[in-house]
């Protein structure tokens, strides 16, 4: 459950208005696209969700928690309920696939004995069980993104946020990633995905929120780009 109430985000002491008075609701298990021209405020919207940035005003609520009110020292614990995926994968180049995923469990203090089992089963889920010992540079872009997804969902987060997860991928790999994200969403995980990929939005139909110059300009259930509305 995600709820924005009159959320405004400004940067540089008010000189940049990234989000203006945004109010919206996203239910548990929903799959939502966030689209809009460059600089519109999409990444900002996402950063507010995982508390990378704090709203200037308004209320951001996730699973009943007011995100703005979380103390800095508690933010790490909040983040454990949220999986984040990026365009550039953000894998550690000197660690193997297995180590990259295990690392995220180590740093939150999971017992080493539990880690192995969990990592192997999540690798199976994303279809990379044969690549555990490979290094990121030995994988295709799509495979690297699957490692990143495995890492994001290993703690069973209630929300997964993806900022242009297919931005660096060819259409074929993008489709595979989409299938994987939909699969995860079907298990009850709320999925929020920022994308520029018109074809994908039109093929895999989901609720689509359009942000333009910091405002929500469109929010359609059936989804899809509307070439009359979205001319960018």
């Amino acid at each position: 459950m995600i709820k924005f109430t009159n959320v405004t985000k400004m940067y540089r002491k008010g000189r940049v208005h990234a989000l203006n008075n945004v109010s919206l609701f996203i239910g548990k298990g929903e799959f939502v696209y966030v689209i809009g021209p460059t600089g519109a405020g999409k990444s900002t919207f996402i950063k507010l969700l995982y508390r990378e940035e704090k709203a200037t005003s308004g209320i951001v609520e996730v699973n009943g928690i007011q995100v703005n009110k979380i103390r800095n020292s508690r933010v790490p614990f909040y983040r454990r309920q949220i999986g984040v995926i990026f365009q550039d994968f953000k894998l550690l180049p000197k660690k193997t696939v297995y180590e990259n995923i295990a690392f995220t469990l180590e740093v939150i203090g999971k017992h080493p004995r539990l880690i192995r089992k969990q990592v192997l089963s999540i690798l199976q889920l994303v279809g990379l069980d044969d690549k555990a010992k490979a290094f990121p540079h030995e994988l295709s872009g799509g495979q690297q993104q699957r490692v990143a997804i495995a890492r994001a969902i290993i703690n069973n987060p209630s929300v997964v946020i993806a900022d242009e997860p297919t931005g660096n991928l060819d259409p074929e790999s993008s489709k595979e990633i989409m299938n994987l994200l939909e699969e995860i969403s079907k298990r009850g995980t709320t999925m929020i995905m920022v994308t520029h990929d018109r074809q994908m939005v039109n093929t895999f139909k989901h609720r689509t929120i359009t942000i333009e110059s910091g405002y929500v300009s469109n929010d359609t259930m059936g989804g899809g780009y509307n070439d009359n509305l979205q001319t960018w």
């Binding site: 995982y50 800095n72 020292s73 933010v75 790490p76 614990f77 909040y78 983040r79 454990r80 984040v84 953000k90 550690l92 690392f103 995220t104 180590e106 740093v107 939150i108 203090g109 017992h111 080493p112 890492r151 703690n155």
Partner: protein, 305 residues
């Protein structure tokens, strides 16, 4: 579990040190030079303090009474009357006046030369010493010359002397040297902290992605910071190794060479190895603290949550 985690942090701290080898090396060197200075300074001042303790009596003014002088004027242990002593006491700036009979003086002298008591027995009737008043000045009053002159004017005084000018010069010299040393120490400690914080900054920079990911997946701030703080502490402790070894070896040598004490008398003893071991321990603590401070500087600046 805690040990497992600590092991992880230690490993990554050591990795950090070796990855920026030259930065770490210069930091360790700075700490080492600093601590060497700290060690020299502490050993010097420990010894000077202990010297001063043993030569304290030399700093008091010795008033020697003429043997021909009226014995009724000097201290009488039976009646406790002490007219000459009282006259000296009336001078301002005097802490205490103590009478030492020539008999006691002779005993002390015999003991000091290391001769056995037979010398005393043989010569006690031809005692060459004089009756003495030992005058100690109030703290802060260093005008030995003025007080001495005043006492010398009195009747029955054969001679007055105080320490030797050398002792005062020595103290003054030591104070100057310690000021210079303290200045360098502070400067070097600052330099060491600066270098360490730069080394840590580099490590933080090298691990940017790693830190970013730790943040994303919810590693606690303490977890993220620990290896960097540890790295600083390790650098500081590494810096303490060389000065400690040097100090223990060299001081051991010096002690062996001067085991019979300095000069003619054995009263001037160097402080024992035990004190130096405490100094060595302190070096490690200071090294660790300096390292910790350096890394906290970087960590708080570059790992803002």
């Amino acid at each position: 579990m805690i040990i497992y985690r600590l092991g992880k942090h230690i490993k990554s701290a050591l990795t950090g040190i070796f990855r920026n080898f030259w930065m770490s090396f210069s930091s360790v060197t700075a700490v080492a030079v600093t601590l060497l200075l700290v060690a020299i300074f502490s050993i010097l001042s420990l010894n000077v303090k202990s010297f001063m303790g043993s030569i304290e009596q030399n700093i008091s003014i010795r008033v020697m009474v003429d043997n021909a002088y009226d014995t009724k004027q000097i201290y009488d242990p039976k009646t406790k009357k002490d007219p000459l002593g009282d006259r000296i006491r009336s001078i301002s700036g005097i802490e205490k006046v103590e009478f030492v009979s020539k008999d006691e003086e002779f005993k002390k002298y015999v003991k000091l030369t290391g001769e056995d008591n037979s010398l005393y027995e043989r010569f006690k009737n031809k005692n060459p010493m004089l009756n003495v008043y030992k005058v100690t000045l109030k703290e802060g009053n260093n005008d030995y010359e003025k007080v001495s002159k005043e006492i010398k004017k009195m009747d029955g005084i054969k001679d007055v002397n105080y320490g030797t000018g050398g002792i005062h010069k020595l103290i003054a010299l030591f104070n100057q040297v310690s000021n210079v040393l303290i200045f360098f120490m502070v400067a070097l400690i600052l330099l060491a902290i600066f270098l360490i914080s730069n080394t840590i900054k580099l490590t933080i920079y090298n691990r940017k992605t790693e830190i970013q990911i730790m943040r994303l997946v919810g590693a606690s701030n303490g977890y993220i910071r620990s290896p960097f703080i540890l790295e600083g502490i390790f650098i500081g402790i590494l810096g303490a190794v060389v000065p400690t070894v040097l100090v223990l070896l060299l001081y051991g040598k010096i002690l062996a060479t001067y085991s019979n004490g300095f000069f003619i008398t054995s009263s001037l003893q160097l402080v024992s190895m035990h004190d130096i071991q405490i100094v060595a321990l302190a070096l490690f603590v200071i090294g660790g603290l300096v390292g910790m401070l350096g890394s906290i500087l970087s960590v708080s600046r570059y790992l803002k949550s």
